[in-house]
Structures are given as C-alpha cells and as structure tokens.
C-alpha cells in the first residue's frame, strides 16, 4: 500500500469515526404526544370551563437523563388565543414554561431525575388579565412580552398540540457543531490528499503568495466593515431578524467571499499544477449537499422561528451559497482567461 493510500485510509477511518460520534451524540429517545382540542371563548372565558387542557401528559425518567422539550401549538393559527405550556416536576416545581400565540418553542437542555414524573400542562389564556396572572405565576417578576387586546377575541377555536421530549447527551448540540467542523476539515484533507500528485511540484509561486496576502488584507477590512456596521445597527437599536450565531458567521462569510474574489480573479487560489478538476468536483458535492440540507430546513419551517432566521436552519444554506459563489467565480475566471488567450 502506498503512502498516499495509507493516508487516505487513515482519513476515511477518522471521518467514519467522526460521523459515528455525531450519530451517537444525536441518539435520542423521544416521548411525544399529539392531540387536538376544540373550545369556544365567550366573554373572555373558555367554554367548556376548565383550567388545564385534557391533553396534557406526563413523562417519567427511567434514569438521570438530559433532554429538551419542543412544543408546537397550531403553527398556522391566526391571532386570537394565547396558550400557556408548563412542565412541572413531581414536587410541582416549574421546569419549563412558555406562552404565545401559535407557539413553537424549544427549551434549554434540562436534567430529568430518575423516577421523577414530569407533568405537562396547557392552559388557554383567554383574556389579558389571565395572561398577566399566568405570567406572574410562571415567570420571574412576571417578565413577559406585552400583548395587545386583539389577541383575546371571542370565537370558536380548534387547536393542535405537539409535545416532544428529546433525550440527548448533555452538550450534544455544541459537540455536534464541533464535530461538524471536524468532519468538514477531514473532507477537505481527503480531497487534498486525493488531488495531490507526488510526481509534480504543487505550490504557490511568489506572485500568488503576494496576491493571497492582499486577499487576506481585503478580507480583514471587509470583516471590519461588516462588524462595524453591525455595531452601529446595535447602537441605534436596529435589530436584524436573524440569530446572533448566524450574524457572526455571516461576517466570516463576507471575509471568505472577499478573499475568494480577489484570489480567484488574480489567479492565486489554486496552487501550480494542482488537480483543479478534483477540487471543483469536491466543491460541487459539498455545495449541493449543503444547499440540499438548507432547502430541507426551509421546507420543514425550521429556517425561520418566530420571525427570526435561525442559525441551525440557515448555516448549511449559507455555506452552500458561499461554495456556489466560489464556483461562479471560477467559471467567470475561466471564461476571462480563455478570452485573454484568444
């Protein structure tokens, strides 16, 4: 077996192990329930009169475990009724609580104790008074977003409820993010090793190194500009409807895009004698893969949550678009070179 083949084998084994790690981390047992309910609101009172909706369930942990609650209530509902959802432990202590119209919320990672029964309760908040009372009872200092009277309309309501408890390894999301990064690096390392030809010298020449230096400089100033602009928006309290993680990554993406533009147009992106076809094939694969995942997030409705673009639902699409931009630049450069040669 050649040295190159051994290296590829080691990288592939590492990649398989990393993917297995992600699968192990995302291992989950899920307790989920789905139910529907119909009721009327007459003179700001729920008819039939009850406090907790009958569909509330319970979950008993068979061992100490970590997990998070995901609750969805009539995602397509129009305003008109506010629902409160609360999970309490066996002693009646609140574990997770949320309210909203057309609710869609995930809890933070929660620790569930062995043998403890956790009860899930829904409540219809049919008036502003009941909403504020619920807020005082369930949230610190009643700290909750204000709502207008328009949310509390009399009428007949049909509401669907989905409650899911996802069991996860503690910090699984953070680990998955790191593992995703490692998998990306391993894929790049495999592509570089496969593309490498030991018989020819593959390196940048002095002009390419100088141009790359300029590219990094431009990328640095572009990032400065982006983060400066963002800082200004924050200073003027102008919020962008996107998660902070996404906005941070967007700054990195701006830097990468500027670096790619200058490097590719100045012919300083690929090394001399580099196997470009192999890399372009790899980029197409990664780009299509990421855009595919991004489209799945859009179709599933996880791209936007409560009017805010989420990081988990948009990072793949952003990576895919960045790779698409790289491929377009390479195509433009190829056409330009061909024209110059003619």
């Amino acid at each position: 077996m050649t040295k190159k083949a051994r290296k590829i084998l080691v990288l592939v084994v590492a990649l398989v192990m990393a993917i297995a790690g992600v699968v192990a981390l995302s291992y989950s047992r899920e307790h989920s329930s789905y139910f529907e309910d119909e009721f009327d609101i007459v003179d700001s009172k729920v008819v039939p009169d009850y406090k907790a909706l009958p569909g509330g369930g319970s979950f008993t942990a068979d061992k100490d475990t970590w997990g998070y609650y995901s609750v969805t209530v009539s995602p397509d509902a129009e305003s008109g009724v506010i629902i409160g959802f609360c999970v309490k432990d066996g002693d009646g202590n609140q574990v997770f609580c949320v309210t909203g119209n057309a609710l869609k919320a995930d809890s933070v990672m929660l620790k569930f104790k062995e043998g403890e029964e956790y009860t899930e309760e829904f409540e219809v908040l049919s008036s502003k008074e009941s909403y504020e009372k619920y807020a005082k009872e369930h949230f610190d200092d009643g700290d909750i977003a204000g709502v207008s009277e328009s949310f509390f309309k009399d009428g007949h309501y049909k509401v669907t409820y989905i409650v899911e408890m996802h069991e996860r390894v503690k910090h699984a999301r953070e680990f998955s993010l790191v593992m995703g990064f490692i998998i990306g690096l391993l894929l790049v390392a495999i592509a570089v090793t496969v593309a490498k030809n030991d018989k020819v010298t593959v390196d940048y020449d002095e002009r390419q190194i100088a141009m790359q230096g300029k590219s990094y400089k431009y990328a640095f100033f572009a990032m400065l500009g982006y983060y400066g602009f963002w800082m200004l928006l924050e200073a003027f309290s102008i919020s962008i409807p996107a998660s902070k993680t996404l906005l941070i990554f967007l700054g990195i993406a701006v830097g990468i895009a500027v670096m790619l533009t200058n490097s590719i147009m100045k012919d300083a992106y690929f090394k001399l004698n580099e196997n470009r076809k192999c890399f372009i094939g790899f980029f197409i694969f990664i780009g299509v893969f990421n855009i595919g995942i991004g489209i799945v997030h859009i179709l599933r409705g996880t791209f936007i949550d409560n009017g805010v673009v989420t990081a988990s639902g948009s990072l793949n699409l952003l990576c895919g678009l960045l790779i698409g931009y790289l491929l377009v630049l390479l195509l433009i450069k190829k056409i330009k070179d061909k024209r110059d040669e003619e």
Partner: protein, 67 residues
C-alpha cells in the same frame, strides 16, 4: 510599465508564456503580469527568467535612460 524586452526575448526563443512559466516554475499569469508591468518579480525570479532566456539582468530588467 510594460516589459517589452522580456516579451521580445521570449518571442525570440519561440516560447509561449506557458512554456516560460513551466521552465521557471511559476504560473502563466505570473509571466503575463510581469510582461504587462502589473507585477514586479523578486530578484530570484528575475534570475530564473534570465537563465531560462539566456540573458542578463541588465538586458531584461534594467531600464535604459530615455526608454
């Protein structure tokens, strides 16, 4: 400033930019940039080009007065 001396020397050997680039171990675009005056090569690359074209540094890279 365009380096017409380099272009002429290369042409006298009936070499393309790619041929010269391969000979001195740089990209075709680097030779093109030197000829167009867009890039000032290091002394190492100048020497490599001179050796490849059998010329001296003065002949290829020294600017005569009035030129």
């Amino acid at each position: 400033m365009k380096n017409l001396k380099l272009k002429a020397a290369r042409a006298s050997f009936d070499m393309s930019q790619q041929d010269l680039a391969d000979k001195v171990g740089v990209s075709r675009q680097t030779i093109n940039a030197i000829e167009k005056g867009d890039y000032n090569p290091t002394i190492n690359l100048c020497i490599a080009i001179c050796k490849a074209l059998n010329k001296t540094l003065d002949e290829l890279f020294w600017e005569n007065e009035g030129n």
